[in-house]
């Protein structure tokens, strides 16, 4: 088993780095990935990171607690800007989630086998990002404990949700997205949980993994059904992920507010979502592969591919910006024209120009092979992109609302410290969940990595004779 197979070296075309460095066997893949979880020595840095993330999570809890006590008045929202940071953050977090589903579902259908090394943690990222996203509209309700009123159930008030409202569509879209992402992730985890069950030395760990693995034993019949189910889930998740940000954009487009009422929003939102999502994938992947020495599994090829997807979707977003501005001029609608003027010269012009500078100008650094192959630079670029995408949502939500049709109703929105505390708290909570995940679950799919090895395919009798 330990001999090195010459064909083990993955196909390397056009001077590309491989998807999996040569020299791996089924055993080394299993050992390397499961050792991260089953080790007795948790790195000290992990505890420090969890401590910091836990602290920020405590900030979130405090901010939410005070919100429950005092009400949404502690935020900077007002009339006309009733949707402040809460909705900005909601859109930002949901968007980040999209890359995970794109990697796990769409790239699976497109037979992009390089996804196998990053799909697991990208899916985890999706789930945790959607969790953060879901918090915001919930808290924004004012009385979050009545959130279940959004769901259709027979009640003593004899009222029903308004199914013609995009806000109700959003409840269905986001909750379906979360559920299906979770199911997809768990189904993918089952064989790996069985691996951990069989490897774990610790009795408690073994029992927990055994329960979660549901008694998986890798039967050929089971794999057959498993693969069918996995493919079907991917097929369902593909239109789902595209629909989620489309529905999020409906929250805006169905309203008549200038700057929101536009048909370009759905595709432009989806592209923006994938753009920011891949930025988050890189932000997570680059330090993880360095800390856990996973450069042989998450190779430069992966970083390069993610950067290319980012660049492509970033340019689609740019097209959205251009079209928005063009249509405001070409459409001849006075209010639309004013909106663009307000974006460029109004009180929030700095934010607008910052986002344009990054998303239209700065993003082009990704054309450079040197940037794509220098993880540190790529990491910084991804961070900048995430900031720009947050600014974009700020401009869409706040600038549009602050000056609509009637000058007498114009207003200014300034986020309060509670807005910021909630936002930073969710970043901490996201990191907290993610750190727990990389400690207790395999962050790279063990079973799927094995299928990357050429020897994973059974040779037909004719082939093995030759």
């Amino acid at each position: 088993m330990e001999h090195k197979d010459p064909v083990e070296a993955m196909e390397v075309g056009h001077g590309q780095p491989p998807v999996l460095e040569p020299g791996h066997t089924f055993a080394t893949i299993t050992d390397k990935i499961s050792a991260i979880v089953l080790t007795k020595q948790t790195p000290l840095g992990w505890f420090m990171a969890v401590g910091l993330a836990g602290l920020l999570t405590a900030v979130l809890l405090y901010a939410v607690g005070f919100l429950m006590y005092q009400g949404v008045g502690i935020w900077g929202i007002n009339m006309p800007v009733a949707w402040g940071l809460a909705i900005v953050n909601f859109v930002w977090w949901v968007g980040i989630g999209h890359a995970g589903t794109l990697i796990s579902a769409i790239l699976l259908l497109l037979r992009q086998s390089w996804r196998n090394s990053i799909n697991r943690f990208a899916e985890a990222m999706t789930i945790f990002a959607v969790m953060q996203a879901g918090l915001f509209p919930l808290l924004h309700l004012g009385r979050p404990w009545l959130a279940y009123w959004l769901f259709p159930y027979p009640n003593t008030m004899t009222v029903w949700p308004q199914f013609r409202s995009p806000l109700v569509w959003d409840v269905f879209a986001v909750s379906t997205y979360f559920t299906i992402s979770l199911v997809f992730w768990y189904v993918g985890l089952v064989p790996d949980l069985a691996t951990l069950r069989d490897r774990a030395q610790n009795r408690v760990a073994r029992t927990v993994y055994a329960v979660l693995a549901l008694g998986w034993r890798g039967s050929a019949r089971h794999w057959h059904r498993y693969e069918t189910a996995y493919l079907l889930l991917a097929g369902l998740a593909t239109p789902l992920v595209l629909s989620v940000h489309t529905v999020v954009s409906f929250d805006f487009t169905i309203a008549i507010v200038p700057g929101w009422h536009s048909t370009i929003f759905p595709p432009y939102f989806v592209a923006g979502a994938i753009y920011s999502g891949f930025a988050m994938v890189l932000i997570l992947a680059i330090p993880i592969r360095a800390i856990y020495k996973l450069e042989d599994m998450i190779t430069d090829r992966h970083l390069d591919n993610c950067a290319k997807v980012m660049l492509a979707t970033g340019l689609i977003v740019d097209y959205g910006y251009i079209m928005e501005t063009f249509m405001a001029w070409y459409g001849g609608n006075f209010f639309d024209k004013h909106l663009i003027w307000n974006r460029m010269h109004g009180p929030y012009a700095v934010l607008y120009w910052a986002l344009i500078a990054i998303n239209v100008g700065f993003v082009n650094v990704l054309w450079s092979r040197k940037v794509r192959f220098t993880p540190k630079l790529l990491w910084v670029a991804s961070l900048v992109v995430l900031v720009a995408m947050w600014l974009e949502r700020f401009v869409i939500v706040v600038v549009s609302l602050s000056q609509d049709f009637l000058p007498s109703s114009w207003g200014i929105y300034i986020p309060t410290r509670w807005d910021w505390a909630t936002f930073i708290g969710t970043i901490g909570f996201f990191a907290f969940c993610f750190l727990l995940f990389i400690r207790v679950l395999p962050m790279i799919s063990i079973a799927e990595m094995k299928t990357l090895l050429p020897r994973s395919e059974a040779k037909t009798p004719l082939e093995s004779e030759s």
């Binding site: 569509w169 189910a229 994973s456």
Partner: protein, 177 residues
């Protein structure tokens, strides 16, 4: 009557060996058998004589139910249960129902696929005789197993053992119940 053992299990090193072994066993006339691998091996389920699964059908039924339920619910709420007249617009405003119908189709279809897969696989199953075999834990790492079960009409401790030995596995083990 219950046979004294669950079956005989042979251990192999490579996907090619296990597929060949499973195919040979099938040709030999064994039917109550299964192969075990750490990852899906192309052609292995066909080799043990398993060709079609019904997961796709379950998913389709689930999705269709989700679609029907979503449409029926929205129709009932908007037209019968809680009609709201908005400027004389039709109560049965089906274009507004599309999004929720789509989401519920995906939700029900996805849950049906996942739960259907588990149910057809008989999972969760906390106990299985195979877990008594010490080296079976490598079925989730880098080894491949073929188990011929004692319930197979052709099963015979001696001849089946000899047959498995002719496939040149690493080990052959009796699987107790």
């Amino acid at each position: 009557m219950k046979p004294p053992i669950h079956g005989l299990i042979a251990e192999f090193d490579t996907p090619t060996e296990i597929v060949t072994a499973a195919r040979r066993a099938h040709e030999e006339g064994y039917r109550k058998m299964d192969a075990y691998s750490p990852f899906p091996v192309e052609g292995l389920s066909e080799a043990v004589g398993f060709h079609k699964d019904s997961v796709a059908l379950i998913c389709l039924v689930g999705g269709a139910l989700g679609l029907a339920a979503a449409y029926a619910l929205q129709y009932w709420v908007n037209v019968i249960g809680y009609p709201i007249n908005v400027g004389g617009r039709p109560l049965h405003s089906w274009p507004a129902f599309i999004v929720v119908c789509f989401e519920m189709t995906v939700l029900f279809g996805g849950l049906a696929a996942a739960l259907g897969m588990l149910a057809m696989n008989g999972l969760p199953m906390p106990y299985h005789p195979l877990f008594n075999v010490p080296n079976f834990s490598f079925a989730s790492k880098d080894k491949f197993f073929l188990c011929i079960e004692a319930v197979d009409p052709k099963f015979d401790r001696e001849t089946t053992y000899k047959f498995l030995a002719s496939l040149r596995p690493r080990t052959i083990t009796e699987v107790p119940h």
